[in-house]
């Protein structure tokens, strides 16, 4: 009890500091006198100023169907990929209700969508507009939870009111307001008791406040929030493994440290207290940060279970729980790679498959769907994956504002 109080005090202090940092607008001019780069540029070397590496634009509109190059998408033999829904600017995180409604969150568009299938016809409804970075979605007991940048809200009885959604109930709004890595991924625990989400680090590479670079969970009964993991730079994809009920998550490596370092990673949370994945001191489990790693050792920290490649930007992941794909796919992990910006030759822009061995160790990583990247130009960016009731796999595309469906056989 005492520990909990201390923790929440620490949390409050950290938040106050972070908020102060955010609110202190007209600070005395350090620029002309100081050589310390602004927060957003920390960790860059001189060649990191190369204007060719400007971040990719934030997608705000959906591509018309005739600009979706579906026939460029490649799947393994026996599989088929088709356009499943479109016209949803910046469609990202997905969740499926027991009735089969797919809810879709966005980062830049401020919208939340519902995709419903009725009498064989699919319809996209925009159920919320003007939200602030509503990236996270989770569904339980007839209610849709949405994680905005600094609060979690809830739409009750949403499926009965898709054409006229109720005003949302504010569930929790004491979250930091930092824009960098402030958007959230949301995941309901298998027992339905907790909502898991991240508080990303508010920059590329800094020593974050104790509140940030964390995975948190909110107890839906008590509304108490607690830290479940630290040293996580930014995870925008989480799923619970069937059977073990462990949380597995992707984590984005830092930028400006090289074309091929450090790796983005796949991680496994084996306990809900005390795991630290190394940020900002150690990346990918075995690579000390050139600056923040000084005097530290990677042995202090928990390690990822797999390196996914540098700058591939892994977002959503799902364990394959369906019965439609061949048996070898059962229990595999699919990961959506949004694709690189901080690398001169682009990587990612694909959905990959991770195969685990009998000891639950990831042993193989291979492309599953490719083709969003043509040469050095991308036309789409996979943001999340969702195994739906019929056993097929949905892939959301945050760039094109569309969802594709991968099926096997038939």
């Amino acid at each position: 009890m005492k520990l909990k109080t201390i923790q929440s005090l620490m949390f409050a202090t950290g938040m106050a500091l972070a908020t102060l940092a955010g609110a202190q607008a007209p600070a005395p001019a350090p620029a002309a006198a100081s050589a310390v780069p602004p927060t957003w540029a920390q960790g860059r070397t001189a060649d990191g100023m190369n204007p060719a590496l400007v971040p990719n634009p934030s997608p705000l509109v959906a591509k018309p169907v005739n600009e979706l190059l579906i026939d460029k998408l490649k799947v393994p033999p026996g599989f088929k990929i088709e356009l499943w829904a479109s016209g949803m600017p910046n469609a990202r995180s997905m969740t499926e209700s027991p009735n089969g409604t797919i809810f879709v969150g966005t980062r830049f568009a401020g919208n939340v969508y519902a995709v419903v299938t009725k009498d064989g016809n699919r319809e996209v409804k925009t159920i919320a507009k003007g939200l602030h970075r509503p990236n996270g979605v989770a569904f339980t007991n007839g209610s849709l939870y949405v994680a905005e940048l600094s609060r979690i809200i809830r739409y009750d009885n949403i499926e009965q009111n898709l054409d006229n959604p109720p005003a949302p109930v504010v569930v929790f709004d004491a979250l930091p307001k930092d824009e960098p890595h402030g958007w959230k991924y949301l995941k309901l625990s298998p027992d339905g008791q907790y909502l898991y989400f991240q508080i990303g680090t508010p920059a590329n590479i800094i020593v974050p406040p104790s509140t940030h670079a964390t995975i948190m969970r909110l107890n839906l009964k008590t509304n108490i929030m607690e830290t479940v993991a630290t040293g996580v730079r930014n995870t925008v994809g989480m799923d619970f493994q069937p059977g073990t009920k462990e949380l597995w998550f992707t984590n984005m490596g830092r930028d400006w440290a090289g074309e091929d370092l450090p790796n983005d990673t796949l991680n496994r949370l084996v306990r809900t207290k005390g795991m630290n994945f190394g940020y900002p001191h150690c990346h990918q489990g075995d690579w000390l940060d050139p600056e923040f790693g000084k005097g530290r050792s990677c042995e202090e920290f928990d390690k990822p279970v797999m390196n996914l490649g540098a700058h591939v930007s892994p977002l959503g992941l799902r364990f394959y729980t369906g019965n439609q794909f061949p048996a070898a796919y059962k229990g595999n992990i699919f990961i959506a790679e949004y694709g690189s910006w901080n690398r001169s030759k682009k990587v990612g822009y694909q959905v990959v498959r991770v195969i685990l061995d009998a000891k639950n160790k990831p042993v193989k990583l291979e492309p599953f769907v490719t083709g969003w990247l043509q040469g050095e130009e991308y036309w789409g960016r996979p943001a999340d994956v969702q195994v739906i009731k019929d056993g097929s796999l949905l892939i959301s595309d945050g760039e094109a504002g569309a969802i594709y469906r991968v099926s096997y056989g038939k």
Binding site: A25, P37, P38, P51, V54, A109, G110, E179, A203
Partner: protein, 198 residues
């Protein structure tokens, strides 16, 4: 170093080839149609894309993608100002692409040399804050990142103050973080430096 340059050239060549291909595949933005669709804009932004008053931005020679994004933000209510929410309300994505094609193809605004002391300070702050890493070496803008070169000093300073205070939308947090440490004097100096560039 040489290798890096060669790599960059090859990368650019690839970019151009694929850029051309995708332009041909997709509906190409039409600057001629864009001029017709831009008639309403001229009263304030001029047919030459030069604002008719100091509080109105020069939009000539802005990168087309940056114009596209600003107009979409106005249309979607994410950014407000100058009545642009109303003017953009009924524009389709294609309309906006055409309008952007028209204004981006115009000659850039003439540089305006202001107070040389301010300009020199502005140049120094630009370097220290790595503005060029996104806004390009001469602040001419690229992709979704706006041109600052030749911009009206009053407009540029107002926007930086609005980004600093959070009054203007900050898509990924970068500009908010970049503007947070700037004083009013820094902002005036940056605006003077940007205006002096071509």
């Amino acid at each position: 170093m040489l290798l890096r340059n060669i790599k960059a050239i090859i990368a650019m060549a690839f970019f151009n080839i694929f850029g051309l291909i995708s332009c041909q595949l997709l509906a190409a933005p039409d600057a001629v149609a864009g001029k017709t669709k831009s008639q309403t804009c001229f009263a304030c932004h001029g047919a030459d894309g030069i604002g008719v008053a100091p509080n109105i931005p020069n939009i000539a020679a802005q990168p087309p993608l940056s114009l596209f994004y600003q107009l979409v933000q106005f249309r979607e209510g994410m950014r407000k100002g100058g009545g642009m929410e109303t003017f953009s309300k009924n524009l389709s994505d294609d309309d906006i692409r055409d309008i952007a094609a028209y204004f981006s193809a115009l000659p850039p605004p003439a540089p305006k040399m202001g107070d040389p002391v301010k300009v020199a300070v502005g140049q120094k702050i630009t370097q220290q804050n790595y503005c060029n890493s996104c806004h390009a070496p001469q602040l001419q803008g690229q992709k979704q990142v706006p041109r600052l070169a030749g911009q009206s000093t009053e407009y540029a300073a107002t926007q930086l103050r609005n980004i600093r205070s959070g009054a203007r939308v900050d898509m990924d947090g970068t500009m908010g973080s970049a503007a947070r440490g700037l004083s009013d004097e820094d902002i005036e100096a940056l605006a003077a430096y940007a205006a002096s560039l071509n």
